[in-house]
């Protein structure tokens, strides 16, 4: 009985988000209070369910629900540790972002639409996390694309529409590649669940038809590389920054790019298996691309004058650490990559929230206009500083931990050049973050911002989320050694799932 | 050549004339006429084929043609009403070719 109830948890969590979306759509624009209630209720319930799932997994329960969508293709949700890593991250940040978004969008139009699709995005992200086979993964991956589109064009002006077109051009193109790859995979080996270490049937197939197997792998990776913003498919991410700050924060910094990176993990580790992917000469290409992306994103970030765009290029760069961790092929590097999946999410969402606060409270979008903002908005700016330092990899913050593991992991595999990439990235990060910090704290204010409603700082609804996530960045670094920290969980995943690396 | 054979060939010729008229003549009334020619060709083919059997005349095609004649007059009537209304509204007695 208990086990059965646990088994239904994934479905319940998924439906929570879908139902929230439906309720929010049905409530319409006018009923603000009810909408707020349902938004928070949905996000809270989902987080509770996901934590319950995590508890269940720790207890050793199998959390799985599946039903046949087609003869030979099953929709299957499985809560394995890897899935939960991503699911906990997205559910936690959903709750926080919901609080933030309610405050941020106060008074703007079409909020029912916004929050409805927002909930759908989270449902899709959750599905991506728990997808138990490539078919399910593809379904939720595409759903994520669709549900994010209305959020990207939310403001509805021409720039937003143009950005939306770019966004869809990239992501649907990637989706087509993923579809072709997934269907070809199914045709070749039938339906197989994601298996840590790779599906045995795929290995057999690759033995028989290495060229086809490589081509399919390339299609699959090409499909997910778009969302992971891997060079040269990163073009959509800066364009999508036109969306409101909460969207940039949760979706583009976390959900969408992470879905791509997560897809890389699922494909390399759980579909083909690292050994096979390496044998097919795909991993070296992947790590090279990741390295290029890391450097490229950072260099581009340097040149951005607008805060959100700089953060966006920073995302391009940072997400590729995950890919790099996967492609390096050692346990330690993989742990670093997976931990970074969480760490980068926490840091980047903090940064975007802060950017949103500046824009909302001061009306400033450009970096050179932020001189002296630290004194005006000390809390926001402090959070920004923590997250930015974390991004650079300053100990003992979260970013340091992941980079450390990546470095030693790569060294263990004899890939010394990765250290070079890490160092270069750190230097570049510093080069584009430190000037901002200097402006915030050290330069005198060049403008006189009027206080809104008697407040100097941002609205509480905007401030509390920032504080929470910044604290999380700090804690993730300080408590990294505990088993339930992101690092600890990542280590658990790798030790249980990928002992062979 | 048997009588049935002769008439089947005549039917195919009639069908050709109908299709030709349908394509080259643009006046709506002429197109409707051409469709009726084609219809007659089909009916003729059915009846001629019914005549080939040694010892009996097949009543099923006859019934089909009888049905077909009523269907044809129904369709023709509707087409004519439509053509008239089209003419009344547009002053055109043919369909502009650039559409579609």
């Amino acid at each position: 009985m208990m086990a059965a109830a646990y088994g239904l948890l994934p479905l319940a969590a998924l439906l929570t988000a879908v139902a929230t979306a439906a309720i929010v759509f049905a409530l319409g624009d006018a009923r603000r209070r009810q909408r707020t209630f349902w938004n928070l209720f949905g996000a809270g319930t989902k987080l509770a369910l996901v934590l319950l799932m995590a508890h269940g997994v720790l207890q050793g329960h199998t959390l799985e629900v599946a039903w046949p969508a087609l003869p030979g293709a099953t929709l299957r949700l499985v809560a394995d540790p890897l899935a939960l890593l991503f699911a906990v991250l997205s559910s936690l940040l959903w709750l926080i972002t919901t609080v933030y978004a309610i405050a941020y969008l106060e008074g703007s139009g079409q909020r029912a639409r916004f929050f409805g699709f927002f909930s759908l995005c989270v449902a899709a992200t959750f599905g991506v996390a728990l997808a138990g086979n490539p078919f399910t993964f593809f379904c939720f991956y595409e759903l994520l694309t669709l549900a994010t589109y209305p959020l990207v064009v939310h403001r509805g002006h021409s720039a937003a529409l143009a950005a939306g077109r770019t966004y869809l051009g990239y992501t649907l193109g990637g989706g087509a590649a993923l579809l072709a790859g997934t269907a070809a995979l199914y045709v070749a080996v039938g339906e197989q669940p994601f298996t840590p270490g790779g599906m045995p049937a795929v290995a057999e197939w690759a033995d028989r038809a290495p060229v086809a197997a490589t081509a399919v792998l390339a299609l699959l990776l090409g499909g997910v590389a778009v969302k992971a913003a891997l060079f040269p498919l990163q073009g959509w991410l800066p364009a999508a920054m036109v969306a409101p700050a909460p969207v940039s924060a949760l979706l583009h910094a976390v959900a969408v790019v992470k879905a791509g990176a997560f897809g890389v993990v699922r494909i390399i580790e759980d579909t083909y298996g690292y050994a096979l992917a390496a044998e097919l000469h795909v991993t070296p290409v992947l790590s090279a691309l990741a390295a290029v992306t890391i450097v490229y994103g950072s260099v581009r970030a340097l040149a951005q004058a607008e805060l959100k765009r700089r953060l966006a290029f920073s995302t391009v760069s940072q997400v590729s650490f995950i890919t790099l961790g996967v492609a390096a092929g050692s346990q330690l590097a993989l742990i670093g990559g997976l931990a970074h999946l969480v760490h980068q999410g926490l840091m980047k969402i903090t940064l975007f929230f802060c950017a949103g606060n500046y824009a909302e409270t001061l009306g400033e979008h450009r970096i050179d206009a932020l001189n002296g903002a630290g004194r005006r908005m000390p809390v926001t700016s402090a959070a920004f500083t923590v997250a930015a330092l974390g991004m650079m990899g300053a100990p003992p913050l979260a970013g340091f931990i992941s980079k450390w593991y990546l470095g030693i992991g790569a060294l263990a595999q004899g890939q010394g050049w990765v250290i070079g990439v890490l160092v270069a990235s750190t230097l570049l990060n510093a080069a584009y973050f430190l000037p901002i910090l200097r402006r915030l704290w050290l330069l005198p204010a060049t403008r006189d911002w009027p206080a809104r409603a008697g407040r100097a700082e941002a609205h509480r609804g905007l401030l509390d989320p920032v504080l929470l996530t910044a604290t999380a960045v700090l804690l993730a670094g300080l408590l990294a050694a505990t088993p339930l920290s992101p690092l600890g969980w990542a280590a658990r995943i790798v030790e249980q799932g990928y002992p062979g690396l | 050549m048997t009588q049935a054979g002769l008439y089947t060939l005549a039917a195919s010729a009639l069908a050709g004339i109908g299709v030709y008229g349908l394509i080259v003549r643009r006046h709506l009334l002429r197109r409707i006429l051409a469709l009726n020619l084609l219809g007659n060709a089909v009916f003729l083919l059915l009846v001629a084929l019914a005549r080939r059997h040694p010892g009996y005349v097949d009543p099923v095609p006859h019934a089909m043609v009888l049905t077909g004649i009523v269907v044809a007059v129904s369709a023709t009537a509707l087409a004519l009403v439509l053509a008239r209304r089209y003419y009344a509204e547009t002053g055109l007695r043919h369909l502009p070719e650039d559409e579609g």
Partner: protein, 492 residues
């Protein structure tokens, strides 16, 4: 003398017909509830037929108790049952929608005329899906045509009259081409029953000529490239319920018959070359229709061109049917495509109808800053478009997946490429529309005329249709299990 199969088969034809007659007899104004009752009765009959097929296999009902070749058989296998069910769903939706649409004071006369025509058409469509007799099919096709043409012309403006005229002439040509083929088949086999003809006809010259004539006629009715020219003006100028029926059901009946006849009557003629030819036409429809849809400046023509595109997919089954590794999946995909397209397209046209009803136009550029009152309709439109794009979690996606898997499994890369490309193009035109609907009003524009209020039922129906597509997108297994009943052996 015995009837055989379930009584609900003839009822599926007779019930909507009788309703139409009684509605005409009493007048729609005096009995506004009658179409609804008839629709429910029809749905009940169809449900019973589907249940019989699912439980007891294919149902053959011998009308008058006469066995073929003497009598006319109604035959419901899984495919026909699926079509009946889809038609019932769309039919019920259209009936529910048309009530408020027509009874709003503007369309009094149209209401009197719409109901009998539509109900007769429903009967004829059911008859088309059930007929196992080539000549009976001819009459059903004519009945569908003669009811569809007035529905196109019902608004009476110049564009719709011209469209109706063109449609009628071409549809009559198509019927006659079909009948010419049937005449040859009867002359060669002495029977009109489609499976008996299939057993007797062989693959000789006369059979080939007959098949070519019949196929040409049906492709014209099914608006397959390059015989699609009539569709767009006809479907985009008709009133919303008519557009929905025309695109979701009427043209699909043509495509259904192409599949039905090639798989049951002419399988011996289905050589790879023929398969490639027909599949090629389907592929051309997919690509051409999608590209044209991208170029339209009004909403309804976009949806109409999308019909041209969507009709092409099921034809891709024909080149795949002969490839053992591909056949079963392609077959399921093609059949499910028709169902998915029917529901999604009906939803899209009804939603577009709401937009037009409310705004008084459907220019894409004018959709910017669309009123919140229309948000549900826009949502329904968007949901329906997602299925047309073949994206999850919709029935359109599952159909596309099966078809794609079939093409890949059979090693037929070109078809797979067409399927993927078609999906991308559909995304292109679909999102072009949705982008406009999501866009903010241009700031320089004066306050917009408040849109006409939409009756609730008109808001709900397209949304429900669209949601049905998602329900079918969760699992295709029940429908595909039904489809197995009586499937040709090569495809089972």
């Amino acid at each position: 003398m015995a009837a055989g199969g379930a009584l609900s088969l003839p009822l599926a034809f007779l019930l909507p017909l009788l309703t139409a007659l009684v509605v005409f007899l009493l007048g729609a104004r005096r009995a506004p509830w009658l179409p609804g009752i008839g629709a429910l009765a029809t749905v009940a009959a169809v449900a019973d037929a589907v249940r019989h097929v699912a439980a007891h296999g294919p149902q053959a009902y011998h009308l008058g108790g006469w066995m073929p070749p003497l009598g006319v058989e109604l035959y419901a296998d899984g495919l026909a049952a699926l079509m009946l069910a889809m038609t019932a769903a769309v039919g019920l939706a259209v009936t529910a929608y048309a009530g408020p649409y027509l009874h709003d004071g503007h369309h009094h006369q149209e209401a009197e005329r719409f109901w009998p025509l539509w109900l007769v058409q429903w009967a004829a469509l059911n008859g088309t899906f059930l007929a196992a007799d080539l000549f009976n099919l001819y009459i059903m096709l004519e009945l569908v045509t003669l009811t569809a043409v007035p529905l196109v012309a019902i608004t009476g403006d110049r564009a719709s009259l011209g469209a109706a005229m063109r449609y009628l002439l071409l549809a009559l040509l198509a019927s006659l081409a079909y009948l010419l083929g049937v005449a040859l088949l009867y002359g060669g086999t002495g029977t009109l029953h489609l499976r008996q003809v299939g057993e007797l006809v062989g693959a000789g010259g006369p059979a080939a000529v007959a098949a070519a004539l019949i196929t040409a006629g049906l492709l014209l009715k099914g608006a397959i490239f390059p015989l699609h020219t009539w569709l767009v003006p006809a479907h985009s100028n008709a009133p919303a319920p008519a557009s929905a029926v025309l695109s979701a059901l009427v043209v699909q009946a043509g495509v259904y018959l192409v599949l039905r006849l090639w798989l049951w009557t002419f399988p011996a003629l289905l050589s790879p070359a023929v398969g490639w030819l027909l599949g090629g036409l389907g592929a051309a429809s997919v690509l051409y229709g999608s590209l044209q849809a991208l170029r339209q400046s009004r909403l309804k023509p976009v949806i109409a061109y999308s019909t041209v595109a969507q009709l092409g997919y099921p034809l891709l089954l024909l080149p795949l049917a002969a490839v053992p590794a591909a056949a079963a999946q392609a077959w399921q995909g093609a059949a499910y495509y028709i169902v998915a397209h029917g529901l999604a397209k009906a939803g899209a046209f009804l939603a577009a109808g709401n937009i037009r009803y409310s705004l008084g136009h459907d220019r894409l550029a004018g959709l910017r800053g669309i009123a919140p009152e229309l948000s549900v309709s826009v949502l329904a439109l968007g949901l329906a478009f997602v299925s047309l794009m073949g994206l999850p979690p919709t029935a359109g996606f599952l159909a596309k997946w099966q078809l794609l898997s079939g093409a890949l499994g059979g090693g037929q890369w070109p078809w797979a490429a067409v399927i993927v490309l078609g999906g991308l193009l559909a995304a292109g035109y679909g999102l072009r529309v949705l982008a406009m609907a999501l866009a903010a009003a241009p700031s320089d524009e004066p306050v917009r005329r408040p849109p006409q209020r939409l009756p609730r039922r008109m808001v709900a129906v397209p949304l429900l249709l669209a949601l049905a597509v998602y329900l079918l997108g969760v699992s295709a297994v029940p429908a595909l299990r039904l489809l197995e009943q009586g499937a040709p052996e090569a495809l089972g």
